[in-house]
Symmetry: D3
Subunit: 250 residues, 6 copies
Amino acid sequence: MTRVDGRSDDELRPVSITRGFQKHPAGSVLVEFGDTKVLCAASVTEGVPRWRAGSGLGWVTAEYAMLPSATHTRSDRESIKGRVGGRTHEISRLIGRSLRTCIDLKALGENTIAIDCDVLQADGGTRTAAITGAYVALADAVTWLGAHGRLADPKPLSCQVAAVSVGVVDGRVRLDLPYSEDSRAEVDTNVVATDTGTLIEVQGTGEGATFTRRTLDAMLDSAMAGIRQLSKIQAAALAEPYPGELPGKP
Amino acid sequence: MTRVDGRSDDELRPVSITRGFQKHPAGSVLVEFGDTKVLCAASVTEGVPRWRAGSGLGWVTAEYAMLPSATHTRSDRESIKGRVGGRTHEISRLIGRSLRTCIDLKALGENTIAIDCDVLQADGGTRTAAITGAYVALADAVTWLGAHGRLADPKPLSCQVAAVSVGVVDGRVRLDLPYSEDSRAEVDTNVVATDTGTLIEVQGTGEGATFTRRTLDAMLDSAMAGIRQLSKIQAAALAEPYPGELPGKP
Amino acid sequence: MTRVDGRSDDELRPVSITRGFQKHPAGSVLVEFGDTKVLCAASVTEGVPRWRAGSGLGWVTAEYAMLPSATHTRSDRESIKGRVGGRTHEISRLIGRSLRTCIDLKALGENTIAIDCDVLQADGGTRTAAITGAYVALADAVTWLGAHGRLADPKPLSCQVAAVSVGVVDGRVRLDLPYSEDSRAEVDTNVVATDTGTLIEVQGTGEGATFTRRTLDAMLDSAMAGIRQLSKIQAAALAEPYPGELPGKP
Amino acid sequence: MTRVDGRSDDELRPVSITRGFQKHPAGSVLVEFGDTKVLCAASVTEGVPRWRAGSGLGWVTAEYAMLPSATHTRSDRESIKGRVGGRTHEISRLIGRSLRTCIDLKALGENTIAIDCDVLQADGGTRTAAITGAYVALADAVTWLGAHGRLADPKPLSCQVAAVSVGVVDGRVRLDLPYSEDSRAEVDTNVVATDTGTLIEVQGTGEGATFTRRTLDAMLDSAMAGIRQLSKIQAAALAEPYPGELPGKP
Amino acid sequence: MTRVDGRSDDELRPVSITRGFQKHPAGSVLVEFGDTKVLCAASVTEGVPRWRAGSGLGWVTAEYAMLPSATHTRSDRESIKGRVGGRTHEISRLIGRSLRTCIDLKALGENTIAIDCDVLQADGGTRTAAITGAYVALADAVTWLGAHGRLADPKPLSCQVAAVSVGVVDGRVRLDLPYSEDSRAEVDTNVVATDTGTLIEVQGTGEGATFTRRTLDAMLDSAMAGIRQLSKIQAAALAEPYPGELPGKP
Amino acid sequence: MTRVDGRSDDELRPVSITRGFQKHPAGSVLVEFGDTKVLCAASVTEGVPRWRAGSGLGWVTAEYAMLPSATHTRSDRESIKGRVGGRTHEISRLIGRSLRTCIDLKALGENTIAIDCDVLQADGGTRTAAITGAYVALADAVTWLGAHGRLADPKPLSCQVAAVSVGVVDGRVRLDLPYSEDSRAEVDTNVVATDTGTLIEVQGTGEGATFTRRTLDAMLDSAMAGIRQLSKIQAAALAEPYPGELPGKP
């Protein structure tokens, strides 16, 4: 039984990472996992939130949102509804927590990096694409801070962070689900991990079905292989020079 | 290195389940995991939310909250702040999703069961205690519906649901963390599973640290053993007669 | 014509006051007037709200709320609705105002005591039970502050405060109405008074009916007798030692 | 010891009632108690709120608000703050409850009368002035409904409703307190009553002081005398013809 | 084709400006354009908003609102809805912007003048009446500040500001539209200008129809003539002495 | 005195219109005016808002928003603040009003077209770019409706709509201001007009300065010339085939 887009079960969708998508933020990345497109911006602010002031530590925070026009059927704007939904909150917290794992907040100095992940087009896996792209935007923001002499220590990033979804569809473990698979998956798992193969977050969910330890193991095997590939794509993207202007750059 | 309360690493805190705590809801359970105390109520309403009307299916929903006085330092009341926080949303969704896995919504008929998990005292593991207690309240509400002849089918519950936390503290995998351990855990995992040993939800998180597959496996082993014990405590509690009045009950 | 629970017209329901119900707040009292159960917690914070800072005076504030599962039919959660209802506001203000009458805020020093009255089960008279229990929780918080050497003056409490409802049901003046009487009362009055028999607050309301001065007098006579009894029950409860740990306590 | 404005202790401020202040609502009254000026409008809508539809009963509701510029120091606008304060809620509920006592909602038919009491200038006693003026606006709205043949029964109003404040200032019981007295009153009582001398609502409050039954009696005596006068002023105002156009009116 | 109220196309409705309408604010003006009645209050506060502090500049801000009873059919209260509507926001911003054009904020010193325009009765042109009245209230507030020695410079006002509506109704350009004309106008234009004939704001809108440059020119000619008259009425009103008490005023 | 980007005073920035930017909405256009980039989506829903149901008329509505990362300094997310700002409201209303002028809502049938204008990058003139792009998205949505046989009448669009800003900078009238000019403009005017040269909306504003009729005329001349060019660019973009799939399209 083949997948609707012809991929094998353990194959990622085409992934693309475009740095320098916007001119204002220190890091701005358009990440695409197939038809899922997320704009990840990393904006630098001097200082930290009040509850952290004077600690000598920096802060990384994240907000996730969808454009109303990103989904198959238009979704209502959360600003108009006057409250942020539970799913939005949950994903925002996941992105922030995941990125903070790879950064030494002391080395960052008393700077705040605000990550905005805005989904321009949704086709499944928006949160995992967001984390994967946000890491690259964060790396660019760190480069920008370093070039402006504002880091307390030159290398705040200790590892790369990437994420992928994996699930059980039609009884088979499949990697990187598009919406058409995600919407009928029996089990849905999101894995966030580092380029060295250690785990940051595992969220396995069976709504309407339970799953065995053996299935969980198979999903984790597939996800970790996918994250190894994503880490290479991130590294390749970051091997190019910083896309904007930096002091001292010719 | 022993734990602060003298338990061994794979030992649960004393668990108690008191049914019939309140007189109004069809199910009302006070669940205690050590000093963590959660009041779980299951209220029955005829009919279902508008988006589900006419489907012939029932609905189970859940809301989690903390009393301001439940925590070490008093926390602000979300009704006064005018918005529900991200953590509250996240846990409410987790409880609802977990309980829906074990219930046949068709058998439930067009009834809604609203689960309210209000934390009276917090000492770590409030969400896992809530799920474990909420299952018992749900079972009582189902009994009440059956006794009133309002189920479409006599046995809507297909399995028991329980949950426990497990984490890495001082480099050791430990079960059912109290606040003093939870607050300094390197990895924190919540597992929801059935009495037959299948998984419903796995949420493993390393904030500030990553973890290996081997550690994840050790945590899952410990959690599954804990859930086996919790399932037995649930079953023992439910072996007693329904705590309130039922039609035809002498 | 007798009352549904067999009481005489001027008889209180069984009243019970349990101190030390929760371990975190300085004062925590479960008060029961028959089936009405309210958890009253008094949490101490150093300092006072900004508008009062530097005045040398302390502050006592109160918030009242109902668990959704406390009422006969489940009520919606105010945090989800995003706003606190008029009745909730009104009762919160009444509790705070009543308790501030009996405390010398100068003697309290620049400390804030936040009273949380959360109704676990409602059967009429929740606001009067809340005030009666909250006084005991307040007294425990004052004891705690004294034992920690944080009072500006050793005796901030000048009197006891208790409250009771009284109404006209079936043409008769009756004390301490349960929900079944309260919901069909022609006149409903709440009285807050001290243990020395002076008044703090009188709120007499006829919705759908008016009442004479003579009826008001009869209601006040009954309420004052009830409050004398409640004051004795409070005093008896407070005659026991402080339920938690205090410095210097063996 | 005389009062700041030269009145005797049991004397009302100059009271004026102007009907037909606005042209759109069926009833529109500007009521003045000295420098306190409240615009009371009674707007008629066909039908009743959803929870009451089909009952054959009408509905009367009230909203109270202050213009930001009405108070000595400008107060923030509640629409901008995004929530209605506790005091506003409390007074709105009091006005609605008081007016519903004097009207037969069955005779009103399935019509809603919305009372808006907007304080144009505040100098103490805004809620009692509001009730006194709102009754006159309500009476005009009833006249309007009758003239348009929309009443189920010709005489829905069973009595007049008026209200006045009374308090203890400088140790003396004083009627109809202006802001300068109200702000330093030891006891503050609001009384709502009918033109036949029966009570609708009594709210006596001692913030920072308690009071005896004897003081309460003296306050009630003074208030009832004041309300007798206010009832006459209302009757005199209503003796004039309806200020707007009515069908069949020449 | 004559207008419903007998005016010629280029004629204003009767305009009246009453200063000193309220006693608390430094400026308080009731402005009437025919049946449109707006209460414009200018309240003085020492200091400026935080983002402006220390700049040496003052600030003028404005809020516009309608009483629920002001309109033909009662409108819902924005404080109850919990949010301010788009139209309200838009007009508030227009009033503030227009008034700031005529005042030297440096000369004002670090004072804030808050303008509140509350519509008591609406019959078209509420925003233009509000601006015209608000200017007079602002002038009174400036006089008050000067008399209290709180201006940085004696003459902060550089010109008068007034506003009028003009539109195309029944194919004719008409000045100062009442509601009955406004509601069926093909083009609706609001013009804010100074007493010296320069423009501050032009807002021309065709909903459901477009308009030519020639029509725009005709509308501007009519509006400018109207504003010349309004400026004279403002000047005449301000020629009277300040309506309240001022230091040193006999 | 030349402009910072070398343009002459009456020259537009490079304008580009990309249709089919997103795959879900019926119309999706990325419009660029220099560095200002706005994503304009037109989503079709069957039916109309409740207040319009059964009228036989369609509806067109618009919402404008900025990504937090679109501006020079990151701006707070309105969904997090829980309310939409005045400027956002104002622009949303302007876009909706402008587009409704060019469409016959009867011909549209009972369909709703929701226009979302999300600013991806801001450099002045975001509202005028939004209107210009939104017209093209609207035209695509109309094509889509026609191809699906859902129009009541085949040609609902009666004209094209485009918009441009013009202002006085350094004493000179300049077209299509980027942020660096906009932020120091003495007068700022936005003009919305049709391809046949009639006006839809003129909004001329002098904050901190007034302007003469002669200046207004010069600004309108420049704007109308700019809109003629924009109309040609729109027409050229729409001359290409519909970018997505349509029934019956090979």
